[in-house]
């Protein structure tokens, strides 16, 4: 009942889309969606061991050190000293394919940018530092992580200025990001993943081995997911401008099968690697996608190693 009430407070995507300023858009989303959450979905990475103390009822069970329990037959809690600053990168795909807009209020880039801005706002609000990387065939722009709300303006300006063009090369981009990030941090990528699935998975795993926490928003339009076309259609590729004529109606089953297969492949392979994968349907309210993300993180769907 409570959930229904909150969802009903989601902003109408059309209204949200009419807000030109990315900063105001982000504030609107965050204030609408995150209001009422008791805990931040973000946690610091740089944790240092402090001491053991005896378990007292009310402590989270997950904090019990089971190895000590095995040796001593007593419950001990392992306490850490957390660093306060979380360093995060928002990695935004700005290739041509992200310009696709079906029946939704946003095109995929706008949707992803709004999501990114919202997350940046959230992170900056809790004193974390946030950076931005835009890419297509390669890295286009890197905004170094900074903390303080004043940095939000710079990120939003960059997001507003970005135009979707060119092809996608996620592997190259992730290599560059890895070189840039010296410390462990949080990488949140927004992309339609129009690249080789194997390459994306391989690179994401490599990043994961460096103990970065990775969240991957797979941004897809509703038309990409349902392929609702009936006629003979001349499809034109938004990245390389190649064309193909096909009977969409006859093609639908095979296409949907392949899309489903792709999503399942990402889902299973990335989750196995400890990477948080979320399918972001642009026809859904942005707050809904954010809330889905928060819910997953707070339920411990993905653990930081």
């Amino acid at each position: 009942m409570d959930k229904t009430r909150r969802l009903s407070r989601f902003l109408d995507p059309k209204v949200l889309a009419s807000i030109a300023s990315m900063e105001i858009r982000a504030r609107s989303v965050v204030e609408g969606a995150i209001e009422g959450l008791h805990k931040s979905p973000f946690k610091g990475f740089n944790v240092e061991f402090a001491e053991y103390r005896s378990y007292v009822p009310g402590d989270p069970i997950r904090d019990i050190d089971w190895k000590v329990f095995a040796r001593t037959d007593k419950y001990y809690i392992k306490e850490h000293e957390e660093e306060t600053n979380l360093s995060g990168y928002l990695i935004l795909d700005t290739s041509g394919s992200m310009s696709f807009k079906g029946d939704a209020a946003f095109n995929k880039l706008e949707y992803a940018a709004t999501l990114a801005a919202s997350l940046a706002f959230l992170m900056l609000k809790q004193q974390d530092s946030v950076g931005l990387v835009t890419f297509a065939e390669g890295v286009r722009k890197i905004v170094r992580p900074k903390s303080g709300m004043g940095h939000l303006k710079g990120i939003c300006r960059e997001l507003e200025a970005t135009e979707p063009t060119g092809a996608t090369d996620i592997g190259e981009t992730l290599d560059r990001v890895a070189e840039t990030m010296r410390k462990r941090g949080l990488l949140i990528m927004f992309s339609d993943l129009m690249d080789s699935a194997d390459a994306i998975i391989r690179k994401a795993r490599q990043l994961r081995t460096r103990r970065h926490e990775i969240v991957l928003f797979h941004v897809l339009d509703r038309q990409e997911l349902t392929f609702p076309f009936e006629d003979t259609i001349l499809f034109r590729d938004l990245e390389d401008r190649s064309e193909i004529v096909a009977d969409a109606y006859a093609l639908r089953r095979e296409y949907l099968r392949r899309v489903q297969h792709l999503v399942t492949t990402f889902q299973s392979a990335l989750r196995r690697a400890g990477i948080d994968y979320l399918l972001a349907d642009t026809s859904r309210p942005i707050e809904a996608s954010l809330r889905q993300f928060f819910t997953r993180r707070m339920s411990g769907g993905v653990r930081v190693a």
Binding site: F100, M194, L234, R252
Partner: protein
Amino acid sequence: MLTFGHPLFLTGLLTAAVPIWLHLSYRRTPVPKDFPSLRLIRLSVEAVVRRLKLRNWLLLALRLLVLLLLVIGLARPYLGSTFGSLAHTGAPAAFVVILDNSLSMGVTHQGISLFNSAKAKALEILERMGPSDKASVALLHDPGTLLFTQLSWDKQDLKEAVRNAPLSYSGTNLPGVLQAAVKLVAPVRSYKRIVYLITDMTRVAWKPLLESGDVLGRIDAGIELVLIPVGDGTPPNLAVAEVSLDQPLVMKGRPATLWVTVANHGDRARSTRLSVLVDGDKKHDIPIEVEGRSRQRVKVPVTFPAEGMVAVTAHLPADSLPHDDVRYLAVQVLPPQKVLILKPPADRDGTPSRDDLFLRFALNPLNRSEGATFVVESREPEEALSLRLADYTAVYLVNQRQLPEPLVGRLADYVLGGGYCILFLGSRTDPDWYNSALLDTPGGRHLLPARLFKRVGNAVSKAIAYQLTDLDTGHPAFSLFATEGNGDPRRAHVWEFFQVQPNSGALVLARMSHGLPGLVEERRGQGKVLLVAFTADTSWTNWPLKPTFLPFLHQSLAGMLGRRGLRGEAIRPGMPVSMVVQQEDLHKVTLVPPQGLPVELPIRREGGAEGLLHFSTTRTELPGFYRLLLEGKEGTRTEAFAVNPPPEESDLERFPVQKVPRFRALAHRAGSATSLGDKVQEVREGKDVSRLLLWLLLVAALVETIVANRPSGLRSEARA
């Protein structure tokens, strides 16, 4: 062949253009659409496009098929009628029903008479005869009969003829009867022309037709030939295939050997008993076993105590085809035959001529009057004037210079009436007299088969020995020597002989080694004359000393005797039998058939020689022993002949229906859902297949619906 009741509907076939047009126009201009990436679409297209193309073509084919079936169905198609434009115009039919009534149709297998089955089928065909149709019925036996020489409208007459059609004991004449039937219907082109052949499909019946060139190919293509096979399978059958004697002459009281051949036309060996009867008295009852698909010759020793015509019957126990289980042979048992030798007159000193010595010895080696085959009388020409030449089987002229003129005339009569005259030449022979008196006789009454010229060689010096070559082993006189081990007349030497030039109608039975004729025979009237160009004794040749001389003389006489009369067993049922006799006082000839009343035969006087009388009969339908009673002033003489079915009819092996060209087979079994009459109607009108086509249309439409709507599942799935 497909014909149509309403051919105008076929114009609807043009509607087939509609789905083709739709199919082509469906390839409309595609709607452009931007899409994030074509990677997945390309992969999907690769997988789907082949299936899609196939589906589209299948749909086009199904839609065309639906239209075609609809249009053809509405045009009321008929399958199988060969009458083209006549098929559905209500044109009447002209047809001939050929009913196989040959011996093989006499089979009764598993209680069903094949011939009765065939008759029932013929009646069923005639029952379907319309009021404007006309028909005839033909019987397939050899030589075949058209029961109606003109096509008849009278159905009842035709059916009655079928009911009364008798089973024949003869073989089949398929080419002849078929051609006669085709000839009957060929002129009536405004009719649907059909020839129905109802037969048991024996291989022997079809062989002549299929081997006689392109008989079937020459038949007008507008005439439908319909084959209605009767019977099923090949029942096992044993038959007496042949009864014969191994010697041409059967003498009273002398042992003779009868050979009976039993044929097993089944696949398995069979045991049976062969009975041999002489004039109705059982003489032998012999158990035999015959292997499958083989023949067995059985040797039966017999002795005929009395002269005259004797009926020999060989029979087996009756089986599925009883008519071939008995076979007859007419045997003429002869008394010793009288032979007259006209030897040269005695020398002036009274020494009798010995030119006939070797002849006399060869013809009657033991000089017996009883128990001998030939009784020889040797006379001088003057003595022969008082003799009745007709009493002699043969007259030998040996080394005669000249003959008295009356004797020449009587010899000519004797030969023309059926006598056998053999001339041996020699040193006394005057070729000029021979040529003028015996050859250049006016009125065609000559005796000599060749003109005589000079003598060749020298029998005194014996410098050059000639041999006989080019023997005519087809002639009875030399046929014996065709078998190795029976001696060789070519080993004899001839030192001197007359050069002769054969008449145009004469046969050269042997030549001398340098090619000149040595033995010449000519048929004269009912008799024959044989000229030997050298001597009958050893003065010009050593042949009389050789072992082949005696058989040559006997065989030449036996051949002549065997040719006379009507003996043998090769006369087939229905064959005409005729006979010419020299008996001026003959006034009545009566035929006594094996069953039924005796029939008097008309006698016709033959031209040419005096006293030649001719009579004939075609009343030989039944197998058996026929007697001819020849009544003259001096009493009644009996001739006889045997009529037997053709042995090849006993082979009931069937010829496969599907291998018969040109004919349309109309297989029908008793009790089947479609009657033969319905099938006959189908032949005339064709089979109405419109209903079938409409069913097919429904099926095609259903399949089209399923194929066309198969992706509808996808649609709902995607919407969900």
